[in-house]
Assembly symmetry: D2
Homo-oligomer: 289 residues x 4
C-alpha cells in the first residue's frame, strides 16, 4: 500500500503466456528415464504430465520473486549475493570467485564471468543441443557483507541451511562451501585462516579457506559455495523406457527442453541464498536477550 509492504504475506500470480502443454502429450503414460515421472507416480498414484507439474523448474519462479524481496532487504544491511556459471560439462573455471570480474557474468548467455570461457561454454551447449543431448555443470556463488554471528551452532548451521536450500533446486546433485571437497584433501596447517585484526579492532582473516563460516556461524568473511547440477533428464532423442503399465516403449521428447539448465539456475541459486541469509539475519536478532 502506497509503495510499502504492510506486514501481510505478499501474493502474486505469474501467468505463463507461452505454454505448450501439447508438447507433453506423448509423456502422459510414459516415464522419462532419470526423471521424476516414475517417482511421483509411485508416491501419489497420479502425476501431472503437462509440463511436468511441480517437477518442472517453472516452480522456481516463486523462489526468484521471493529472493528479489529478500535481496532488497539485504541491501539495507550491505549484503550482496552473486552467483555465476563456473562449469559446463568438463569446461570449468580454474579460479575462485576472487579471480574474476563477476559483473561480466550477466553480459553473456551462459552467465560465466570469463568471456573466453563463456564462448566455449556456449559452443558446447549448442553442440550438445544439436545432438539432442544435455549437459550438466556447476554454479558458484558468493555472499559479501555478511556480519559475524549468523547461523545456529548445531542443526541449523548456516551452511546446513544453505545446503538444504540449494539441494531443493531442481537437478541439484551436490553442494560444498569454502574449500569444500578439495579442502578435504589438505592439511589443517594449510587450511588455517590466520586472524588479522586491524587497529580499529575489526577482525579479518588473511586467507578464507573456511568460506566465511566456522562452527556453522558466519565470521564476517565472504561466504562462497558451489552447487553441482546434473544434465537434464529430458532428451530430444529416442530413449528406451517403460510406460505406466511397466511395458517397454521408446520415448522421444518434444518441445523446448533445455540442453543445459546451469545458466538458468544462477538466479535461482542467488534467490535461495538471499532467503537463507535474511532468515539468519532476523533469527540472529534473538541470539541475545
Amino acid at each position: 500500500m502506497d509503495g510499502v509492504t504492510t506486514g501481510c504475506p505478499i501474493g502474486f500470480v505469474v501467468e505463463n503466456t507461452n505454454q505448450h502443454s501439447g508438447d507433453y502429450d506423448n509423456m502422459r503414460s510414459v516415464f522419462r528415464p532419470s526423471h521424476a515421472d516414475y517417482t511421483y507416480t509411485e508416491k501419489y498414484g497420479v502425476r501431472d504430465h503437462r509440463g511436468g507439474g511441480r517437477s518442472s523448474a517453472r516452480e522456481t519462479i516463486s523462489r526468484v520473486v521471493g529472493g528479489a524481496f529478500a535481496r532488497q532487504a539485504l541491501r539495507k544491511f550491505g549484503i550482496s549475493i552473486t552467483a555465476y556459471t563456473s562449469a559446463v560439462g568438463t569446461l570449468s573455471l580454474p579460479g575462485l570467485y576472487t579471480d574474476y570480474d563477476l559483473a561480466v557474468a550477466e553480459t553473456n548467455a551462459v552467465r560465466c564471468p570469463d568471456p573466453k570461457m563463456a564462448e566455449e561454454m556456449e559452443r558446447l551447449i549448442l553442440d550438445v543441443k544439436g545432438s539432442g543431448d544435455t549437459v550438466g555443470g556447476v554454479v558458484s556463488c558468493v555472499i559479501k557483507g555478511c556480519p559475524a554471528g549468523l547461523g545456529e551452532p548445531v542443526f541449523d548451521k548456516l551452511h546446513a541451511r544453505l545446503a538444504y536450500a540449494m539441494m531443493g533446486i531442481n537437478a541439484a546433485k551436490g553442494f560444498d562451501y569454502g574449500m569444500g571437497f578439495a579442502g578435504s584433501e589438505r592439511r589443517g596447517s594449510e587450511m588455517a585462516d590466520i586472524f588479522s585484526p586491524d587497529a580499529d579492532g575489526n577482525v579479518t582473516t588473511l586467507t578464507n579457506n573456511s568460506g566465511g563460516i566456522q562452527g556453522g556461524i558466519s565470521n564476517g568473511e565472504d561466504i562462497y559455495f558451489r552447487v553441482a547440477f546434473k544434465p537434464v533428464a529430458t532428451l530430444l532423442r529416442e530413449l528406451p523406457t517403460i510406460d505406466s503399465d511397466h511395458r517397454p516403449t521408446v520415448l522421444k521428447a518434444k518441445g523446448r527442453h533445455d540442453p543445459c539448465v546451469v545458466p538458468r539456475a544462477v538466479p535461482i541459486v542467488e534467490a535461495m541464498a538471499a532467503m537463507v541469509v535474511l532468515d539468519a539475519m532476523l533469527l540472529n536478532r534473538c541470539a541475545r536477550i
Copy 2:
C-alpha cells in the same frame, strides 16, 4: 517399560568419565584459527572454552544414540545404512560402494573397506599426527532397501534433507549424491538410468547414476552419497592467532585432539541418515489419504 518404548521421548545421559577440561585452560581467552571459538563469541558474547562446548563433536553422541533407535526401526522395513571412509587426504578409493565389501570397513581403525588402502590411510594419519598437523577426508554412505516414494517434491526433497543432516555434522564441508559433482561433467545420454521391469512388475534400473532419488523422491534403488570433511582446526603445533581482546598471540593446543575425524564421522553419518530416512518413511504414510 518391560522392554518396549511407551511413546514417550527417550531420555538418556552419557557421562563423560574421561574428561580433561584442564587441557583447554590455555584456550580460555584465545581463539583457535578456523575454529568456532571466534564465531561463538561474536554470536553470544560468551563461549564455553572447556572442551569447546557445543562446537565439540562430543555433541554428536546424542545423534548416534538417536540413530541407533532409528536403525532398529528401519530394520523392520528392511532398510540398512552403511557408511565408510572413502578418502583421507589425497588417498581416495577409486571405486563406488559396489566395488568393495563394506563389512571390511569395521575391521580396521580407519573404517575403510579396502584393507590395503586402510593401511595406507592409517600410516598417513600417524604421519600427520607426528607433525602436529591434521588431515581431512571423505565419508561415503549407502542406504539399501529404501522403498520408492520417500521424500517431498519441492523443498523437502529426500536429498535436501540428507544434505541438511550431513552438513550439520561438525567439520562437514560438502555433500553430493549419486554421481554428484562428477556427474555434472557428463551428458544426459550417459546418465540416463534405463528402466528394467521384471516379469513381476517390479521396476529397477540398469544403472543408478541418479543415486536412488529422482525429483527429490526415492525410486527404490540404492541411495548413495558422499560427505567431505575438512582437516580439524585444532593443531598440536604453534599457530599465530589472537586473544579475546584481539591482540596477537601464539597458541599451541594441548590434549587429545584428533589428527583426522573422518573415521569417527562414519557412525555419525550413518546415524543422521537413519533419522532422515525414518522421518521420510513416517511422513510418507500421509502422502495419500
Copy 3:
C-alpha cells in the same frame, strides 16, 4: 487433474466482486476502539485501512475453502463436523448438542437449531443493528465419528490444537470443551464417564462429560466444544476515539459492518475443526512404527 488432486498444493483465488473500499476512507487515519487498527500500526508502522486488511474476517474465506477439502477427506473416515449458533447476547440455548436436531441450524439465518430461539435471535440482532450497535455470542460444535487415539499427549493435545485453531478466528475470546467452565464447578464423582463395553469389545462411555478427549487424546466419543465471540468493534454510531497522531476525534463507521458475526462464524469453526482433526488423523498414522 482429471478430477483428482495430484499431491500439489491447491491454489485458488476468490475475487471480491462486491467491495466498497471507499467505505473505509474515514478510517484511514483514525483508530476504531477495541479494533486491530491501533495494534497493527504499533506492530508494523503501517496499516491497510481499506477493508481492515488481514484483521477483516474476509481473510477466513481461505480457511473455509481449506476446511471444505478437509471435510471431504474426513467423510471417507466417517467423521462429520457440525457447528451452530448456541447463543446471541444473553439468548442462550439451555441444552447440549444432543438436545437439538442440528440439521435445523442451516434452515435459518442465524444458524440456530432451535427454530423458536432462532426467531428471537434474529429479532435481537435486528434491534441491535437498528441502534447502530453490535452483539456477541457463542458457537457450539460437535465432531462425530472420530476414532480413539487422535492427539498428542503433551503440548499438542487434541483440545489444545482445537483451542489454538478456534482462538485464531477473528473476534474469538474463549474456548472450552466437554463440560468446560461449567464442569470446573463439579465433583470428580459426578464427572466420571463410566465405561460401557459391548459384547463385540467396543468401548463406549455411559456419559460424555469429558467431551471425547481424555489426556489430550480422543476416546471415540463425540468431541464437543464452544467458542465465545465478542461483539464486533466497528459500530455504526459515533464513538470518541483518536487519530494516528493520537489526537482526540469522533468516528462513525460507514458501510456493511455486521451487527453480529456469530452466524457467519459457524462455517469457519467447522472448517478450522476439520483441518485440526484431519491433521491429527494423518499424524496418528505415525504413532506406531
Copy 4:
C-alpha cells in the same frame, strides 16, 4: 558458565525422591474412568501405569523450570506475570484481578488472593477429600508490562498461543481472555475500550474489556485470562470400570492423588504464560526489517 548462560540449551534433571510406584500396582491393567489410561493404550498399544507416565502432572516440572528462566528474561523488559486461584467448585471470586491484592495469593495454601474465600476453599477441598472425591476450579492470570505489538495477526494471535499453552496443561478444559464468555453476552457499545492518550503521546484505554489484545496483538494494557480445570479423574473411592481386556471391574485408587489440582496449577499457568510472552517478544524483533 561463570553464572551466565552460554547460548546452549539448558539441561537439568529433577529427581523424584519421594515416589511410591507401588501405589499404582492395581492400575496396571485397569483403566480409570475419565483418565488417559484408556486413550494412551488405544494410541500406543502400551501404557506406563506407574505414576501415570506423561499423563501425570509431574511432567509439568520441566515447564515450571523453563518458565522460571523466561520470567527472569521478562523481568528485564519490565513484564510480570501473576496467576491465582479464582474458583474452587462453586466458590468463585466475584471480581476481576484488579479487585484483589494478588500478593496475598502466595500466603495461603489454595493460592487465592481473598483471605476469606481462601479459607472457604480450603474447607471445601478438605470436605471433598474426606469423601474420597475431587473438585475442579479456575485459575486466573494477569500479564503486566507487555508492550504493544506482540502476537501475529492470523494464526499465531497472542491469545491463540496463550490458549494453546494453557490447554496443554493437564486437566485444563477451558480458556478465555478479557471479558471472555461473559463478554459474548454484551453489546459492542458497552465493550468499546475508549482510547485515552496522555500529554506524552502514550496511549492507554479507559477500560480494558479487550484484555490487552486486539486483533491478536497486544495493545500495551494488562493481559488477563482464565483457565478452567476439571476435577481430577483419580478418586479415592470405588468406581465401576473395565480392565485392559474390557471386562467389568471395580477400582479404588491408592496413594496421594490430589483432591483439587487448581492451587498446584497456578505456577504452571504462570510458567506457560511466561514462555509464550517471551517467545512473542523475541519474534516481534523481526516484525520490521
